[in-house]
Symmetry: C2
């Protein structure tokens, strides 16, 4: 079955018990949602950069925990609510890079969101142990799960 809207995706995700379950509640104007989601992804990009800096340089367990906790909290925040129908165009901090395919292939959206949540939760778990080698390996998996959504649903700049 090919679902047609992200609301349908949210329902499917809710059935799966995912954080996208909260997608039904969207607040703000379309441009607010675009700005908020751009902000959330930039905040995660900062956090990924921090983890990488710790892997490549001197490993500081506390900093990695802080960064991993931010990614985990945002990944589990019901980000789907920031993708109301029609926001494949519009300007937040800048013009959105969301492809229209996002609203046309909900099973894929659920798949990539589920994968991202899984890897984000695992990263937070491993960060707490302070095992730098495990964090390094997980960083690759988490990054791949980011790319798993960017490739089909984000326009190149």
């Amino acid at each position: 079955m090919k679902l047609k809207t992200v609301t349908a995706a949210a329902l499917a995700a809710a059935t799966l018990g995912l954080s996208l379950a909260a997608s039904a509640q969207s607040i703000g104007k379309p441009e607010d949602n675009i700005r908020w989601r751009q902000s959330a992804y930039h905040t995660m990009a900062w956090s990924m950069g921090r983890i990488k800096a710790n892997i490549d340089g001197t490993y500081n367990k506390d900093q990695v925990i802080q960064a991993a906790n931010v990614i985990q909290a945002i990944a589990n925040s019901g980000l789907g609510a920031l993708f109301p129908a029609g926001t494949d165009s519009g300007k937040g901090h800048k013009e959105t890079r969301l492809k229209s395919d996002f609203f046309k292939d909900s099973p894929k959206v659920v798949e990539v969101a589920t994968a991202f949540n899984k890897e984000a939760n695992e990263m937070a778990k491993l960060a707490a142990t302070g095992d730098a080698a495990a964090v390094k390996a997980q960083f690759g998996k988490l990054g791949a799960s980011c790319k798993g959504c960017h490739d089909p649903f984000r326009k190149e700049e």
Copy 2:
């Protein structure tokens, strides 16, 4: 003693065992840091808006937990690292609104950051209980702690 730089504030905060302790590690260019901190605050603004929508409308415990966890994770992420010296001017998503006073009154920075962390942690704790009345009261305290930094250190738009 009047400390002169945010690095000094970070050291003071570290002494106090605060999350600003991670401030010493700054990655990225000045404009990256400005963009990342603008993103982090916008992400928290979204989360505050969600909590308010739940207080004013139908209360959904899970959504409030999601939003409170995002605020808590960002509040404890060592945001001080995003305020390297000299970033009282410069452009991230837009021109920074940071006042130069931020780098001139470190005890006040530590004071407002400490208050914000405390209220953010308390909000996450209360959100987990599902006590809507307690969350509503805490929303006022948390908002006041945001304002406690905006008033002295953020320019009006």
